[in-house]
């Protein structure tokens, strides 16, 4: 008799059953408020084809998928735990990856690919999405990464800086009821520095009172600020245009001497502009990460009291992280304003803040490469699902998956897909810190 084994086994079976059926419900047909059980009932009982082999109820199908996945994971784990060839391969790879010239070559290849991308991608939807839904979100994720990844501050109102950048652009170009600073309008190209600076100033203004707070309070208060910015944009009709939005924001244009260029409806010129800024911001954030400033951020993130005892002023560095992170969000705002020509407060929601956070967490907090990768992957998947939703998929379900993804990531891989070098190590570290904070 081996009872404990049976008990353990049945617990596992139960867990697999529950999570499989949950997956069935999540992916199943929707219900409605009048007959609440319809959605659940159909999700479980509806007939579905098992990879074209045979037809069975969804509940059985998903349970089968659950068991297969479990066995696959189990098998993979076993295979890996006594496979030294894999290990040596991995260490070889990582030693190559550390090589300076390899890194340089990789960066060059990626750069060339980025420049050639519009020639490969000709579908107008994707050309547009590449700019307004992917590159802009890369910028936002890069900025939030400075705040969350480098300095360890959970900011749930990051969208506020995006909004400041966008509305600043609308303001400079005369699209707000409030007259622009120069009396006459400028085109958005010249609004770039103003928007970035205003976003940074907003970072400082929001940062100084809130960054004295403990981490979890900070999350709630920043969330509040994000909401308040939207609220003001909505209510200060005389300044922002209110819920009805701005007037027409013009496209970018450049008139310097003989040089004359106007960005029109075609997204490709925007693509090159935004890619240029993405590279610039990556360079800036990378330099900062590997400088005194980056080390100070890490020190504060790891142990604020110890950092203070070494003479680091935490408030100053935290405010700086806010301001620097806000810079790229400010530029993202310029892009959005100039390209979509039109802003309403409804764009800048809490959901967007969380969306940006998901990109950062998925890619790897604190890892610039990870964050860029994460933003590209998640936004591409999101846009793919919007563009060509697979049969049986209801677009609003995306947020259910995103929620589940966050929880699963935190349980199984808190460092993200590409954990930052430093985070990776922090994982190994004993967490005596957590307990001695009292």
């Amino acid at each position: 008799m081996n009872l404990p084994f049976i008990k353990k086994f049945s617990t596992k079976a139960l867990i697999i059953l529950i999570s499989s059926e949950l997956a069935a419900v999540v992916t199943g047909p929707p219900g409605n408020g009048d007959t609440p059980w319809v959605g659940f009932h159909d999700s479980i009982t509806q007939k579905a084809s098992f990879f074209g082999l045979f037809v069975t109820g969804r509940w059985a199908l998903f349970y089968a998928i659950g068991i297969i996945s479990y066995l696959a994971v189990h098998f993979f784990k076993k295979l890996n735990s006594n496979n030294s060839a894999m290990d040596s391969l991995r260490s070889q790879y990582s030693s190559v990856a550390k090589n300076k010239y390899f890194k340089l070559a990789a960066v060059l290849v990626i750069g060339v690919l980025a420049i050639l991308l519009p020639t490969v991608i000709t579908d107008p939807f994707w050309r547009e999405a590449m700019v307004s839904q992917i590159a802009v979100f890369v910028l936002l994720a890069l900025g939030l990464n400075v705040v969350v990844g480098f300095a360890g501050l959970l900011d749930l109102g990051f969208v506020a800086f995006y909004a400041v950048g966008a509305y600043a652009t609308a303001w400079c170009t005369g699209a707000l009821p409030m007259p622009p600073i120069f009396g006459s309008h400028v085109n958005p190209f010249f609004a770039i520095p103003i928007a970035i600076i205003l976003a940074m100033v907003a970072g400082v203004i929001l940062g100084i009172p809130t960054l004295r707070l403990r981490g979890d309070y900070l999350a709630i208060v920043t969330l509040g600020f994000g909401e308040i910015i939207t609220l003001f944009a909505n209510n200060l009709t005389g300044i922002t245009g209110g819920a009805q939005g701005t007037k027409q924001v013009p496209h970018f244009s450049l008139h310097i001497g003989p040089l004359k260029y106007i960005w029109g409806l075609d997204p490709v010129p925007y693509y090159y502009l935004v890619i240029g800024f993405v590279i610039l911001f990556i360079f800036i954030f990378y330099s900062l990460e590997h400088s005194r400033v980056g080390r100070a951020w890490t020190a504060i993130r790891e142990d604020e009291v110890a950092a203070e005892s070494l003479g680091i002023n935490p408030l100053k560095y935290k405010v700086m992280a806010f301001a620097i992170g806000a810079a790229s969000a400010g530029f993202a705002g310029v892009m959005t304003a100039a390209q979509s020509n039109f802003l309403t407060p409804a764009t800048f929601t809490l959901a967007l803040s969380i969306n940006i956070l998901v990109l950062v967490i998925f890619g790897g907090m604190g890892s610039i490469f990870g964050v860029v990768f994460g933003a590209i992957v998640i936004q591409t998947i999101t846009m793919y699902l919007i563009h060509t939703p697979p049969a049986g998929y209801q677009p609003p379900d995306l947020y259910i998956y995103i929620g589940a993804l966050l929880v699963i990531m935190m349980i199984f891989r808190p460092g993200g897909l590409f954990p930052a070098r430093r985070r990776q190590r922090a994982d190994v570290a004993t967490s005596s810190l957590e307990n001695s904070n009292g």
């Binding site: 994971v73 784990k77 697979p390 049986g392 998929y393 990776q424 994982d427």
Partner: protein, 403 residues
């Protein structure tokens, strides 16, 4: 470290496997018919995000029209609806608009549902000469005079002015409080009513209860409606106009009744919806409230067989769906257009011909008589076209007077 990595790779693999399972497990797509040319009607609107319900309502209405047209078997072509999800977001609309105009079978677009997204998509539709018929965008500013823009509802200006005149002139209200819900629509109509009421000679107070639109994802705290009602009771205006949607008007009405306010209460077409009496608790609190809606002479909702078909197709209760009927009518108008215009010149020519046809024709749909002005607005100054209803029982009223 190593184990951690493998575990998560495995977890991701599991996830991927599940996702692969989804499309397989989904319903099989219908096989296409033979020979006949296929034309696509695009639907753009919020299918995700906070405004998703509007998009689903309208998409359902459009699908119903197109399905029924195909089912007659009389058409020399096959029609398909392709949906483009803008999330009602002006930043996403350009991408979808470009995808739509790039679709080589697409002849016209129904959408966008929201004014902001319509505004942002317009330049792209215009540059490709694609007619865009919005079932629900009412902002005054989006009718910019471009020839490809059409809408199935009256703009805020006509309805709002009529409502203001009704309150001030017909009901004799000398003091009016105008409350907006802070949504694009609500702020728009509230703004128009406020100005028009002032013009008509009333003293107007403006207020806002923003981000409360529970029809689209927000909810006010209990106390906000109660306190607003108390405040109204204290200043005691002769009339209250609410610019917003039914879900919230349903909260304001009981609050006003509890506070003991006895004046005239009114709201626009956003509130003329079965949801109003589904949500107002108790239902008697809605008694005596006035509602306005464009297109006098129709209920604005799908009824009878259509309602049954709609329910079957979408799972949405048609009486509780906003703008489903407008989208249904828009679909039928496009079917009529395709039957009239020459189909020989290829899609670009058809697109242009549809625009010309839409400017020339007139139709009668479930929402009433439809004819477009040059700028795409419905014909008429609105005089006699705005229906005003008074809630009397526990069902959405149908008896109305035209103003």
């Amino acid at each position: 470290m190593k184990i951690r990595l493998n575990k998560s790779v495995a977890a991701l693999a599991t996830g991927a496997l599940l996702l692969v399972g989804v499309p397989v497990a989904g319903l099989a797509t219908a096989s296409s018919a033979a020979a006949k040319p296929v034309y696509v009607i695009g639907y753009e609107g919020p299918l995700t995000g906070s405004g998703a319900q509007y998009g689903q309502n309208e998409l359902g209405g459009l699908n119903l029209a197109i399905n029924n047209a195909n089912a007659t078997g009389m058409l020399p072509f096959t029609l398909q609806v392709k949906s483009y999800d803008s999330q009602g977001d002006p930043t996403l609309s350009p991408a979808q608009a470009q995808a739509e105009v790039a679709n080589t079978n697409l002849v016209a677009v129904v959408g966008d549902a929201f004014s902001g997204a319509t505004h942002a998509g317009e330049p792209y539709w215009y540059s490709a000469h694609v007619a865009a018929i919005t079932p629900s965008a009412t902002a005054v500013t989006i009718a910019t005079g471009k020839n490809n823009f059409f809408r199935m509802v009256y703009g805020d200006d006509i309805q709002g002015t009529t409502d203001a005149n009704f309150l001030v002139k017909t009901k004799g209200a000398k003091t009016v409080t105008v409350i907006s819900d802070g949504s694009f629509y609500g702020a728009g109509i509230a703004g128009v009513v406020s100005v028009a009421a002032k013009t008509a000679g009333a003293t107007v107070t403006n207020d806002a209860l923003p981000q409360t639109s529970s029809c689209s994802g927000g909810v006010a705290s209990v106390s906000e409606f109660a306190a607003e009602a108390t405040k109204i009771k204290a200043s005691n205006p002769a009339a209250v106009f609410y610019g917003g949607y039914a879900c919230d008007f349903a909260n304001l009405l009981p609050a006003l009744k509890s506070a003991g306010y006895k004046g005239t209460v009114m709201s626009g077409d956003g509130s003329y919806d079965a949801v109003l009496l589904k949500t107002t608790t108790p239902k008697s609190a809605a008694k005596g409230a006035y509602l306005s809606a464009a297109n006098c002479g129709s209920t604005g909702n799908l009824t009878g067989t259509l309602a049954k078909q709609y329910k079957k197709l979408t799972g949405i209760e048609p009486a509780a769906a906003l703008y489903d009927a407008q989208a249904y009518d828009a679909g039928n108008i496009l079917v009529a257009a395709l039957q009239k215009v020459s189909l020989t010149g290829g899609v670009p020519a058809i697109r242009a011909a549809i625009i010309t046809y839409l400017h020339a024709g007139s139709w009668t749909g479930v929402t009433g008589k439809i004819q477009f002005q040059a700028n795409g607005n419905l014909v008429g100054t609105g005089k006699g076209n705005i229906a005003i209803y008074k809630v009397t029982g526990t069902k959405l009223p149908t008896a109305h007077t035209c103003y």
